[in-house]
Amino acid sequence: MDMQALLIKIKNGEGRSTAMLAEEMNTTPEDVTRTLEYLERIGVLRRTELGKFECNGSCSSCSGCSGSSGKEKGPCKGCIPEQGFEHMGVLWEVKNG
């Protein structure tokens, strides 16, 4: 896959799914995924697990956070499911500048 072409496509600011990108680039989603992973490893793209919630339990002032009060520290059980939002997918982003 032409990685430069792929980056130009992403940089146009138009969101697209990996399946759509595979169709556009005339390749397979697996090829797109491995290329995205590679680009992430070399620091060109940034990967965000959308389901991961990185609350460290320090928002003790949140009255809705049962997990952040007392000794029990962790994500706010009142705000997110126990396992985080598991089915929110993965996002890759590239800085336009």
């Binding site: 980056l7 969101g15 590679y38 680009l39 959308l50 002032s61």
Partner: protein, 672 residues
């Protein structure tokens, strides 16, 4: 070689089955420590085969041999140190297109090696047929298809090991090198690097690492080159910008060619599903998503209705309790507090929880099924154009439950300006308390049309976010800070009902305790302030209310509603407490103004008889888009560390809520 023992280094990406093979070979003969000077775990073991002793070094699992991490540096240094007699490279047979990358990165290292295509059983389950002999003929090294979990079938592994050791088999990189040679400037660069300048590494490998911008390799080469050769090397190296893209393409292309006639797999034509096509359509995607959300809101009323009816029990209970207390000559104040404050508050709280439960259940289903990912995908595009990072989705999602959590979760956003913008926008997302109060009030005032009110609130939310992004974004996010995005949509899932119900019930329970803590004290405070005992002019609240009413009416709110609006800044639930107090039955302003303490059926009827439709509408919009609560304000300060921006956002939302209320009230007057 160690003490006459042959040393095998196991090299592979994480999850390629390296540790399984290591355990299979060494059994209990293992030693675990750290690599010198690093916090990277070093695992060494040994085994005997056919009377020969071997040492096995389990190298850290890495994706490549670049110098991006301690693990990669340790791995690379060990291989080039010459301590290993042979390197066993492992790849995951079920995803060779990805896992052979390590092999392609190893190409050019002269230490003898052989390839293990591990997880053969998984690949077979996927319907893949792998011809190891064909791969072997292309690579020139022993290749074994096996499953490291099956320790009884290691014969082929031992045969490959012996062959690699005895013949000192090295990887044939001619076809990969041909691809590198097509890169403009590769040959010239390679010509400046003598073979084995770094021990065990070919000039091709060093040239590739130079092109990739590997600082460690470059420093080693620059240390050893001198004079014109060094100048020419640096000059050729400088020609490559983003060289890792170029070499990456070569490596992947080489892997694809290697596998093209060696692996047969069941070809799955991946086509975007019809639903995904509709959701991701540039023109209609947003419309489809809005329709789905509306459908979800309608669905959420189904579980809410029975819980709302349950709330009615507390209202109904107020009549016999009042009669019983009166018959027992209880003080009117005690009767008022029990019937008007506690029971009315509980009735409202249970009704609110009904909607909170319904909405959380439906949107939990959306998330569990993978639909929520599609919904956020549709708006990612817009978010990206607003200058927000993909990570901003989380604060928004969490804000639907609690704005405090939303503000706290913006911590993951590394750019301060984008963090402030994200928090500013997350405030526009109605929180769980709003989602509990608004449907209840809307259902009370507008019956079946409540859904339309909620849809209108959602649309105003989107408009609010857009306008806020324009206003704040201009100041906070520059064009060069914006991002392009790709989303890997998860497959559709059948919801895990148990886990989902636990979350929804947990959130409803949290909300119950939270609203009880706010509503009852606020209701009690305003009930006391409004307690007139028949002399309304003596009530402090009445005096203030009458004084400010000419101004509050401009925004479509009588003074009672405006008090509730102010209380909603402390917490949205506070608004319900104030309304309950001010429109309760006995001994308060309402009772005095109406001249009786007549038993009016319930607080809903009281609200309906005292608040017009346009006023109710204006009030609902005002509290929805008001400051979420004081704790959210504190969380915003905590995350932004800026009193200035916290004050700006607070002022903006207070003013915005009043403007929205003004507009909605006048639209309401026109249509009702």
């Amino acid at each position: 070689m160690t003490d006459g023992k042959k040393t095998i280094a196991l090299l592979g990406q994480p999850n390629s089955g390296k540790s399984t093979l290591f355990n299979g070979l060494t059994g209990m003969k293992q030693h675990v420590g750290n690599w010198p000077g690093k916090t990277v775990e070093q695992k060494q073991g040994g085994f005997t085969h056919n009377g020969e002793d071997y040492v096995v070094m389990d190298l850290p699992g890495t994706y490549s041999l670049s110098a991006n991490s301690d693990e990669e540096i340790v791995t690379r240094d060990y291989i080039s140190s010459g301590k290993a007699d042979v390197v066993c490279i492992l790849a995951d047979s079920s995803q060779l297109e990805r896992s052979l990358f390590m092999l392609s990165d190893y190409a050019g290292i002269n230490v003898p090696c052989f390839l293990i295509l591990n997880l053969a059983d998984v690949a077979a389950d996927q319907g893949k047929t792998i011809n190891a002999d064909k791969i072997r003929s292309k690579l020139g090294i022993p290749v074994v298809l096996m499953s490291a979990t099956d320790v009884k079938k290691y014969d082929n592994f031992f045969a490959a090991l012996n062959e690699a050791l005895s013949k000192k088999t090295t990887l044939d990189i001619s076809s990969l090198e041909e691809k590198y040679r097509k890169l403009d400037g590769f040959d010239e660069l390679k010509a400046e690097i003598p073979e084995n300048l770094i021990p065990g590494c070919s000039s091709t490998w060093m040239a590739v690492k130079t092109i990739e911008g590997d600082k460690v390799v470059r420093a080693k080469i620059e240390n050893k080159l001198t004079g014109d050769s060094l100048v020419r090397y640096n000059s050729h190296a400088a020609r490559f910008d983003k060289g890792a893209l170029l070499t990456g393409e070569c490596k992947f292309s080489w892997i694809d060619e290697l596998l093209s006639d060696s692996v047969n797999k069941v070809t799955q034509t991946v086509k975007t599903s019809k639903l995904d096509k509709a959701l991701t359509n540039k023109t209609w995607g947003k419309v489809v998503v809005v329709l789905i959300v509306i459908g979800g809101l309608l669905l959420s009323f189904i579980p809410a209705v029975p819980i709302m009816l349950l709330g009615g029990i507390f209202t109904a209970l107020a009549v016999p309790v009042r009669e019983a207390l009166t018959a027992a000559n209880a003080s009117p104040i005690v009767t008022g507090i029990i019937c008007d404050v506690i029971l009315q508050s509980l009735a409202n709280i249970v009704k609110m929880l009904g909607f909170a439960f319904g909405i959380n259940l439906v949107f939990g289903m959306f998330e569990e099924s993978g639909l929520m990912a599609r919904i956020s995908y549709v708006f990612d595009n817009t978010m990206s154009k607003m200058g927000l990072q993909g990570k901003s989705i989380m604060p928004f999602l969490v804000s639907f439950g609690c704005t405090i959590g939303g503000a706290s979760s913006s911590r993951v956003i590394d750019n301060w300006n984008q963090k402030v913008l994200t928090i500013a926008l997350a405030w526009a997302v109605p929180c769980g308390a709003a989602w509990a109060i608004i449907p209840m009030l809307a259902a009370n005032f507008f019956g079946g049309y409540a859904v339309l009110v909620i849809i209108a609130i959602l649309l105003v939310m989107l408009l609010h976010i857009w306008i806020t992004a324009k206003i704040f974004g201009r100041k906070l996010v520059k064009k060069e800070d914006r991002y392009g995005i790709i989303m890997e949509l998860p497959p559709y899932h059948k919801p895990k009902w148990g886990a989902m119900l636990r979350f929804v019930l947990g959130r409803t329970k949290d909300m119950f305790f939270r609203v009880v803590k706010v509503i009852i004290p606020v209701c009690l405070l305003f009930w006391i302030l409004s307690y007139s005992g028949g002399n309304i002019e003596g009530s402090l609240l009445y005096k203030i209310g009458v004084a400010i009413e000419p101004v509050t009416k401009v925004f479509g709110m009588n003074w009672q509603l405006f008090m509730a609006f102010l209380a909603s800044s402390i917490g949205k639930e506070g608004a319900v407490g104030v309304l309950t107090a001010l429109y309760s039955q006995s001994g308060t302003i309402y009772g005095a103004v109406n001249g009786t303490n007549a038993a009016v059926a319930n607080s809903t009827q009281l609200l309906l008889s005292n608040i017009s439709g346009p006023q109710a509408l204006a009030f609902m919009f005002a509290i929805t888009f008001n400051v979420p609560c004081v704790v959210a304000l504190a969380a915003t300060y905590q995350e932004t560390h800026s009193a200035k921006w916290t004050a700006i956002i607070t002022g903006y939302y207070t003013l915005g809520a009043l403007i929205i209320s003004f507009i909605v009230y006048h639209i309401g007057l026109l249509i009702m």
